[in-house]
Homo-oligomer: 358 residues x 2
């Protein structure tokens, strides 16, 4: 089994903790390991043949640094020359793995998700690998726990109930609340986790059908000598990326292929999309407040705050429903329901040229 | 003219900026000079014969450091052995000055007030000094600009209007709002500024009448040689302080003496009693927000916040009416109407033994 970790995100919704050179996957929101490191450690017990991490040039050095310490596993970091969404990255990884192991099973994992029950993840991957070996494009579907409107959904064909896997009827974009409520009720809708597992020849064949241009570009890559000396590929990757369009694997393949199946899983998953997701990764205290990395919190008549304090002591007096984040050079105080708008703060700082804290 | 600056306050309402060893008068809330330094600089144009600063042992070193750089004026720092409110401090200063200059005029100023119009202060002191020379106990009364319930008031005998000074009818403790509204309307009520001016023999004679125990203790101090070598007095001050009770000059003398007069003054005064007083020392921006010591503020749908950010960039999103303060080791986020409760935060930190940030 090969692991491909997609680590090229440049998210701005965790400002001021996340920065241009340290996006969400490269920071530690909840503990001492970064999200990328936790993603790597989560799959080590599966004893993968190799781990490929796809990132971008700006973050490549820090990414290398963060995974340099793992023994007993080969980890390669590939820096994309430009952002092209997930399909080219996945196609490139599949092409590289296939050159070495044409029917190898590859797992695709985002680098910036939180998973509480890591055993459940590994068990599900092992079970999904069986279907992958039979030639299916497997995707992990998270059992929804609330009518979330911030995630995409996967509708499964579930005439026979059970543990799955199930054929996929359709992919649904982020739905309005009334639809999300209906999906939750229906029981055959799952959150689209962005985690996949398939044989390299299966995904490459499906790309030939559904993404012929990308497929042609990838087929042009010639491997010379030891295929795992990936730095030799830099020039060829550069030409592939200059030739292909930016497109997601969901849109490019998953929504079109007839070979897609979903395995439902319940594992305390969160994509930690903004500061407001902190309660999904750490249980709130008796006042509904989550404190991370504080030297202590004095709460007077305060509740439901999400606090990240960079080792500082925090006091809140008579305040509710706030996101409070402090770093060495910046402070954010935000209504909790406006956590998505933190990216607008980054836009405004960029627009006005105040880039020192970006 | 001698200046006596009362700098022994241990205020906790500016936590986390103020600390046990650096209370309000020893910090800079609005600029590069501390409140004590600004108090000293404010009176330098009056060319005082000497400046006496009364503080406590914990703050004496920092106080000395802050006033060490002033040339052309003698500044003495006296460390009280224990806190005894204002009457013993003022009595001690009067006794010391009188030993050198029995009818010298002394001005008493708190070290932690903000004054926008410093010319008005100096003009008023010069005019009040004339009445002081005639044997009156002069107090500065601030023309009220709002029905403030956080200050004490002085009711003046104003049958003849004019610039004053006026005899004082009575001192009023912090009033309820309906009384404060009436005082504002009446026109003969002034905020009690805690600023006084009198001859040393006048105040000492009034202390003999109204505070005989304190007076006896002070009379016992014997001056030997150069009276301005104040460190020689440490032992005697220690015994005076162990013998006298803790009492304010208002209660001990001003509310009882028949020689009290008030000079009204309008000078953009604030006692800066808590974070909520920031708009009194710096004008708010178009959103009603005051930013002090920030590297920039991004405000999205936010208003009426009071921000002190220790040189950091601050972003606020969808928040209103908050006090936001950050220092190297602590963060405060407080409802603006609860700024008085910051002292409860300090109490809680003390109670729970988290003294590193006190």
């Amino acid at each position: 089994m090969y692991i491909v970790i997609l680590a090229g995100g440049s998210g701005t919704r965790f400002w001021p903790l996340s920065r241009a050179s340290k996006p969400k996957q490269l920071i530690s929101i909840t503990g001492d390991r970064t999200m990328l490191q936790r993603t790597v450690e989560r799959v080590l017990p599966l004893k993968p043949k190799r781990i490929l991490i796809i990132t971008n040039k700006l973050q490549a050095d820090e990414t290398e640094r963060q995974v340099a310490g793992y023994r007993g596993v080969h980890i390669d970091v590939i820096a994309e020359p430009s952002a092209r969404n997930t399909a080219p990255a996945i196609g490139l990884a599949a092409t590289i793995i296939a050159s070495h192991d044409p029917t190898g099973v590859m797992v695709v994992l985002p680098a910036d998700h939180f998973i509480l029950d890591e055993d459940a993840l590994r068990d599900t991957l092992l079970s999904a690998a069986q279907s992958a070996r039979k030639g299916y494009l497997m995707t992990l579907g998270i059992m929804p726990s609330r009518p979330e409107t911030g995630y995409g959904y996967i509708e499964a064909e579930m005439e026979l109930r059970g543990e799955g896997p199930f054929p996929v009827k359709r992919f649904v974009e982020k739905p309005p609340l009334e639809d999300a409520l209906r999906y939750l009720e229906a029981g055959n809708y799952f959150w689209n986790s962005g985690m996949f597992i398939w044989r390299t020849d299966t995904i490459l064949a499906e790309m030939t059908i559904h993404m012929p241009a990308l497929s042609r570009a990838l087929t042009g890559i010639s491997f010379d000598g030891d295929v795992w000396e990936l730095s030799d590929l830099d020039g060829q990757i550069e030409s592939v990326y200059s030739a292909v369009e930016s497109i997601s694997i969901d849109y490019g393949v998953m929504e079109r292929s007839t070979k897609v199946q979903v395995v439902p899983v319940e594992m305390g998953w969160s994509d930690v999309g903004s500061w407001s997701a902190l309660p999904e990764v750490q249980a709130p205290d008796e006042n509904g407040t989550v404190c991370i990395n504080t030297a202590g919190h004095v709460s007077l008549d305060s509740s439901d705050c999400l606090i990240y304090a960079d080792g500082r002591t925090v006091a809140t007096v008579g305040v509710h429903n706030l996101v409070i984040v402090s770093t060495a050079d910046a402070i954010l105080v935000c209504d909790r329901d406006r956590a998505q708008d933190v990216k607008k703060v980054v836009e405004e700082l960029t627009r006005s040229g105040r880039t020192s804290c970006l």
